[in-house]
């Protein structure tokens, strides 16, 4: 007994000795990570959900489907749904509300289209660079058609013989001869195209774009619609849509006199002074007149004290009376009265139309209703009889059913057997939702579409206005690349998204800590890089890239002089993330910048993040050195020939996410099997 008491005493003393300082240490550690002193001491929030371990990740997470786009059969009895995170096409019996088939397709399926005889379905695989062809009678894959990089939207030609596929990463349009099953042509498009629609008269294809044309900061922005002639399959023109970007999808009125495109009107050229009165982001649609000179009119769907961010898809009823827009950032469908839009345009002078593009009150003229949906509504389609609108509730794993007569959500089709929402999923829902921004004006997704970046430069105005403009950074796989921000001021994602974030950016109450944990976990661990199929499809560098790699890793310049260690590319940009996570002065401070040193950015998939440098002044990788790095402080390049510089840039473009270099995980190669 005495022995037991003695042992218990020893253990108690030991626990006290460990517990008290241990708790104190843990408190200090959590305070450092979260940059606050009252975050709950719950170790699993970081050490479980943010774990790098595949085993732990497997245990705490689960697979989701993430439906993104929908097609409907001619008789309206079946829905075809691309499930982006399941790499499958779901075939759904509408009447029975049940899944008939789950067909394996490529990686990250995006768009789906059914041919007129309803013989085949075509599914774009955004991370496989191909289109899966599915025989609808057999419900099996019969062919795989190669495309450009990042295939997204797709359309048939007017005679059905050609399939057009929009390549969202390589900024072009693949033209596929369906009889031969091969790409016969590739046409340039705007920047980061996604949506495509053939006009009702069968003459023109309109292709949307998400990223703006890169211009020096301060110059007016515009994003291009691409117009292609269907008959000749030739580029007709680019139509700049001023002050707008993130044009995801487009739809025509049945008569073909108007085309409607979803869009966002950012305020990146204004200092971020306030959210009130629409000073940060506005959301709406463009109306492209097909008669006359093709005038483009922009109208907002926002209201003076309420915003409807991240419009994704738009469909129009067969009678041409209503348009439905999925406002994915607020889980709403905005219903537009098209006759009211027509009346407004008809009665407005050009000056008034210009005013309406920046007016929050005018939406009351044409927005009929807002219909709540499940999380993150994306793709839309109408039943052939026009009675129902089907909504791909992307982060809800459901298809919402909306009556077009009562304008209410009347049902849903659940694609998943589990309702469990993991921490990462919750984080993803939060990142895609504007609920934690004042009056829902924008979500994280708005500036970080696809958890990447929007290609714009902003004036955050935390100090004086007009100073310290910053290029938006990608959120992909940043978990192991702290610190964050261009000045490296935030040591963790927690700090980045915590109190200061709400004070200077979202301007409403900060995330509750459980939500902050979830969104931080998602940002740190939930966003894999897409495969770099454009510049490094199989991990084998070509000769040019190999020469570029040698230059990147060199220790001596072309004259045989030793390059100081701190001025070698590879010193600051070592694999696997190509950052040493250290601050450095690379001599790119602008006159309008306060004196800072720059956090060394990571370089994986750097090809996909123009413009470059902290203020986006370099429009291409080349310009980093040809225009802004001539003093050899951002690596020694002054001795290089133009060819050598280009070779190094080719190598930089080949850099890809570390997971693709791993022998254990090779998503990219797996995706190529389809």
């Amino acid at each position: 007994m005495r022995k037991l008491i003695f042992i218990t005493g020893i253990i108690t003393v030991f626990l006290i000795l460990v517990f008290i300082p241990g708790k104190k240490w843990a408190r200090g550690h959590v305070n450092y990570i979260t940059a606050v002193d009252d975050h709950p001491l719950i170790c699993i929030n970081c050490h479980l959900y943010n774990s790098n371990s595949h085993l732990i990740s497997k245990i705490v997470n689960r697979d989701y489907l993430s439906p993104i786009n929908i097609a409907v059969s001619n008789d309206g009895k079946k829905l075809y749904v691309t499930a982006q995170d399941a790499d499958k096409l779901f075939v759904i019996d509408v009447a029975e509300e049940k899944i008939l088939n789950k067909i394996d397709v490529g990686h990250k399926p995006y768009g789906v289209i059914i041919d007129r005889p309803e013989k085949y379905a075509y599914v774009t695989n955004q991370w496989s660079d191909n289109v899966t062809v599915i025989d609808l009678a057999e419900m099996k894959v019969v062919d795989t058609l190669s495309t450009g990089n990042g295939p997204a939207g797709l359309s048939f030609s007017s005679d059905g013989s050609v399939l057009y596929v929009v390549n969202s990463y390589s900024n072009d349009l693949t033209v596929i001869d369906l009889a031969e099953g091969v790409e016969i042509k590739r046409l340039n498009t705007g920047n980061n195209p996604t949506g495509i629609q053939l006009s009702p008269n069968g003459k023109d294809l309109y292709i949307t774009a998400r990223r703006a044309i890169i211009v020096p900061y301060g110059e007016p922005m515009a994003t291009e619609l691409t117009l292609v002639d269907d008959e000749s399959q030739r580029l007709r023109s680019f139509l700049p849509v001023e002050s707008a970007y993130l044009m995801e999808n487009i739809a025509f009125s049945p008569s073909g006199d108007l085309a409607f495109v979803t869009l966002i009107r950012p305020k990146n050229l204004l200092p971020t002074l306030q959210v009130e009165r629409g000073w940060m982001m506005n959301h709406g649609f463009g109306v492209i007149e097909q008669n006359g000179d093709g005038r483009i009119i922009q109208l907002l769907i926002d209201e003076p004290q309420a915003y409807y961010p991240d419009p994704f898809d738009i469909v129009i009823t067969k009678d041409g009376k209503k348009a439905f827009i999925s406002s994915s950032g607020v889980n709403m469908i905005s219903v537009i009265d098209i006759d009211s839009v027509r009346n407004l345009i008809a009665e407005s002078t050009p000056e008034m139309l210009s005013l309406w593009a920046n007016h929050l009150g005018v939406s009351s003229r044409y927005v009929m209703k807002r219909i709540p949906t499940g999380a993150n509504p994306k793709g839309l389609t109408l039943s052939p009889d026009g009675k129902y609108l089907y909504v791909a509730e992307h982060l809800n794993d459901k298809i919402g059913i909306i009556s077009t007569e009562t304008l209410t959500r009347t049902g849903e089709i659940n694609l998943s057997t589990s309702e469990r929402v993991t921490v990462l999923r919750r984080g993803r829902q939060l990142l895609n939702n504007a609920g934690r921004t004042f009056q829902n004006q924008y979500s994280c997704y708005t500036c970080h579409p696809d958890e990447h970046e929007d290609g714009l430069v902003y004036n955050m105005a935390s100090k004086d206005m007009g100073r310290n403009v910053t290029n938006t950074q990608s959120l992909r796989e940043i978990g192991d690349t702290p610190p964050f921000k261009w000045n490296g001021k935030n040591q963790t994602v927690y700090k980045q998204d915590g109190m200061r974030f709400s004070t200077v950016l979202t301007r409403t109450e900060q995330f509750p800590y459980n939500d902050l944990d979830a969104i931080s976990s998602y940002i740190m661990r939930g966003n894999p890089y897409p495969p770099n199929l454009q510049f490094n499809p199989d991990g084998i560098l070509n000769e040019v890239q190999l020469r570029g790699k040698k230059i990147f890793e060199r220790t001596k310049d072309n004259f045989g002089r030793e390059i100081p260690v701190n001025n070698r590319c590879v010193t600051c940009h070592p694999a696997p993330y190509y950052t040493n996570r250290q601050p450095f002065d690379v001599s790119t401070l602008a006159v309008s910048d306060d004196s800072i040193v720059f956090d060394t950015p990571h370089l994986n998939n750097i090809y996909a993040s123009p413009p470059y440098l902290h203020d986006g002044r370099a429009h291409t990788l080349e310009e980093i050195w040809t225009r802004y790095g001539r003093d050899d402080k951002h690596g020694v390049t002054g001795d290089m020939t133009k060819i050598e510089l280009n070779e190094m840039i080719e190598y930089l473009k080949s850099l890809r996410g570390p997971a693709y270099e791993s022998s254990k995980i090779n998503i990219q190669n797996a995706s190529m099997n389809h």
């Binding site: 009165r277 004290q305 007016h359 929050l360 009351s364 921000k485 109450e509």
Partner: protein, 475 residues
């Protein structure tokens, strides 16, 4: 032995359950009750400057009724006060704050009452009258405080403080008087505001953040009417309040939409009665305090808001008018907004994107005012200086914090083009933008780089330079 142990456990368990039940009972003892402010109204000419005959009524009192048993005698909650009015319920429904005079000659102060114990404690201990308190998230409150002999010539200004009275902060600095605050679900304060200098204007609803920043017009009261109640925001996005005709002595219930408050006014009732307040109940129904038909006094009615019909008389005080009503219940805490105010900084920054954008220009008729060459910033007692307008119409100012100012535009000859507009003030470290001068308030700015921000801001007052202040942290 075992039996004894079980019996002992049962006794302990019973005691614990009883304590829990009693505690729970006590906590919810007033849930669902309606707390009324009763007093003698003198609504003939309510004084917006002093609040007399309107906000702070002598010998007013707080009473409580059970709306499901209105015939029961009302409980007087403030019998030990000379006057008490304008209660607001805490977010958990357990307490109220209210304005009261302990004795006849005391200044009105803010008190907090625990509804379970019905005990009160004084929150503010100031020499000036303090009325219309409202709970803010974060154990704070906002209230109206009378400013006497103030150079700004304001009547009541808004202040905030902690619920123990500490951290008293003035929020509004323009020569306006503020009454009848409420808090919107988005976390902003909404209050009746009326300019009192240089001329007295009609009362409107203004909104501002709880740190006093971003004060702006929310609802522009229709001509000939006065606002006489605080706002009731409902779950369906409506905001209800009372508008009173200045001359006829009649009033009506009005609704606006939160999403578009300036252009969604909808009279719910006719002017067949006179109302003092509207209350939204938990089940979606409404109560109004009104004097309808042959009523001699303001009494409490049920109200069918959908059809604009007065329902049954719910409660009538023997001697008093019912001035306002409050439902005892817990409700969702509004957003706790972060603050950009930094008291180490002595200025605020303001950007006007294009001073020539004005609602007076008409794209329909083509009429436009001459272009402005400069602006004059006007203080309460003197001009604060002239600032040259940039080629694109932009102006970038660094203004001494908490100082009211107005702006008017001038052409190259110095003649007035437009203005002066309404009063502004900037809190320490506040950043603020405006699109133009007297512009349509539903407009958003164009996405255009302003020439003015490529330069340093102009200090206002223009001689106000070299201010040694805290370096703002770079994000």
């Amino acid at each position: 032995m075992l039996r004894n142990l079980i019996a002992k456990d049962i006794i302990i368990l019973s005691f614990t359950v009883s304590v829990i039940l009693l505690t729970a009972c006590g906590r919810n003892s007033m849930e669902g009750m309606v707390i009324l402010t009763e007093g003698r109204l003198t609504m003939v000419n309510p004084d917006y400057i002093t609040g007399q005959g309107w906000r702070n009524l002598p010998q007013s009192q707080l009473t409580a009724i059970d709306p499901s048993n209105p015939s029961a005698v009302a409980d007087v909650l403030t019998s030990d006060f000379y006057s008490a009015s304008s209660p607001d319920i805490s977010f958990d429904g357990s307490k109220i704050i209210f304005a009261a005079q302990k004795n006849q000659d005391d200044p009105w102060q803010i008190w907090e009452m625990d509804l379970r114990k019905l005990s009160s404690r004084q929150v503010t201990k100031l020499q000036d009258d303090c009325v219309d308190p409202v709970y803010l998230p974060g154990n704070k409150m906002v209230f109206s405080r009378q400013i006497q002999n103030d150079s700004l010539k304001a009547g009541y200004t808004l202040f905030s403080c902690n619920l123990d009275g500490s951290e008293l902060r003035r929020l509004t600095f323009n020569p306006h008087t503020f009454f009848a605050s409420s808090i919107l679900k988005d976390g902003r304060i909404i209050a009746i505001s009326r300019q009192v200098f240089p001329s007295v204007s009609k009362a409107n609803y203004m909104v501002l953040r709880p740190d006093g920043t971003k004060a702006e017009l929310f609802y522009d009261c229709t001509e000939g009417n006065e606002l006489v109640s605080n706002c009731q925001e409902t779950v369906d996005g409506k905001i209800y309040f009372i508008e009173r005709e200045q001359t006829a002595g009649k009033s009506r219930i009005v609704s606006i939409d939160y999403n578009r408050p300036l252009h969604s006014r909808k009279p719910v009732s006719g002017t067949d009665g006179d109302y003092t307040s509207v209350l939204s109940m938990s089940d979606g129904s409404f109560l109004v305090a009104g004097r309808i038909g042959t009523d001699k006094k303001f009494v409490l009615y049920t109200y069918d808001m959908k059809n604009g019909k007065t329902g049954s008389k719910l409660y009538e005080s023997a001697d008093n008018d019912i001035i306002d009503a409050l439902l005892v219940k817990a409700y969702e805490r509004p957003r706790k907004l972060p603050s950009e105010v930094d008291f180490g900084v002595k200025t605020g920054l303001m950007l006007c994107q294009n001073i020539n954008v004005t609602g007076m220009n008409s794209p329909e008729t083509g009429f436009s005012l001459p272009l402005a060459d400069k602006i004059e910033i006007i203080g309460v007692d003197s001009s604060l200086g002239f600032v040259k307008v940039e080629s694109d119409g932009s102006v970038y100012l660094k203004v001494a914090a908490d100082m009211p100012f107005r702006i008017r535009t001038l052409d190259s000859k110095g003649s007035v083009v437009n203005g002066p507009g309404g009063w502004y003030y900037l809190r320490p470290n506040e950043r603020r933008g405006c699109i133009g001068c007297h512009e349509d308030s539903e407009m958003v700015p164009a996405n255009r780089y302003a020439v003015a921000v490529s330069k340093n801001p102009v200090s206002v007052p223009v001689h106000f330079e070299g201010v040694k202040e805290k370096e703002v942290e770079l994000e």
